[in-house]
Symmetry: C2
Subunit: 186 residues, 2 copies
């Protein structure tokens, strides 16, 4: 038999966070949420040390994601991808910014090769990055994959503004903890 | 409310093809299937002009995908991504080649930025490409996104062999038909 369906889930502890009732007015609050999601995902043993969240311009959460690669047996289930897919399912918009609101993605670590490309198609205007790819590789032992030489410029050309190193130390702390705890790499 | 689940489906006409009962012994047969999937997806009006299929080394189909971006309201739902996710759901292996079989991805058109990165994580050994990115852009009007300058070399470094231009003309014919028919670009 060949499967014609896929069903991916985020952990139920996210429901308890009641994120729809909260507001994230600035980049600092948005990055703090992405890092909190990464940390909780490790603490709750529901996936790798990565978290991401999507916000509209008023600071409301459009979607969230944590790494679910091992728990879902799915190499696509990175935090950013889960956030894109669940936000698009909720809004029924394949470009999240198609209604005109400026959409921000905050991710606890620099997008890998796959999530980088996905960020171009998902309809975001701003990309906030915590830890750098080199941090992910050195602290947690994950391969981030190859990127275009001027990966930031290629995003800017497509109207996506990039900010690096937001709360980088806090983001690195989650990676370091995961790496030193012998967490699975994939 | 924030969605914590995503459910993606492939069209039901794929079931009628009875692909699990067929065998694809060589690259020519494998690419022909990928292109046939792309063509049928256009003809059945179930998505964009892209098809992909994954094979084990004996030529059995591990998974298939067609573009479902518009029908699923999901920018992730490219043909290659659907193939990876459904094959991994079926085999419960997050690296499709982790049991030792050599896995081949045949895709009717060169992977975009996202699918390129995803191909590195999915556990494939061979990548067969029909139409080139320049064909996709010129004939069907899709943006393929930025890639590393030596994108083939970066795959080879990770043990993935690449073959371009397999049945390129047949793959281009599907793109041309879609483009000239005013098919939606996204």
């Amino acid at each position: 038999m060949i499967y014609l369906q896929v069903h991916l889930t985020l952990p139920s502890w996210l429901e308890d966070m009641q994120l729809h009732a909260r507001n994230y007015p600035d980049d600092s609050a948005r990055m703090a949420l992405a890092i909190e999601l990464a940390r909780r995902n490790v603490d709750m043993q529901t996936g790798g040390p990565f978290g991401a969240a999507l916000f509209d311009e008023s600071g409301r959460v459009l979607g969230i994601g944590v790494n679910r690669v091992v728990s879902m047996n799915c190499s696509v289930a990175h935090a950013e991808m889960m956030a894109f897919m669940t936000a698009q399912a909720r809004t029924q918009q394949l470009r999240l910014n198609e209604t005109g609101t400026r959409v921000t993605l905050a991710t606890s670590a620099q997008p890998c090769s796959m999530c980088y490309g996905a960020s171009i198609w998902a309809g975001i205007d701003r990309l906030l990055v915590g830890a750098r790819a080199s941090d992910v590789e050195s602290l947690a032992g994950f391969d981030e994959g190859p990127l275009p030489t001027d990966w930031i410029g290629a995003l800017q050309q497509r109207g996506i503004e990039v900010q690096l190193d937001l709360q980088r130390e806090a983001a690195c702390a989650v990676l370091r903890e995961y790496g030193s705890g012998g967490g699975k790499r994939y």
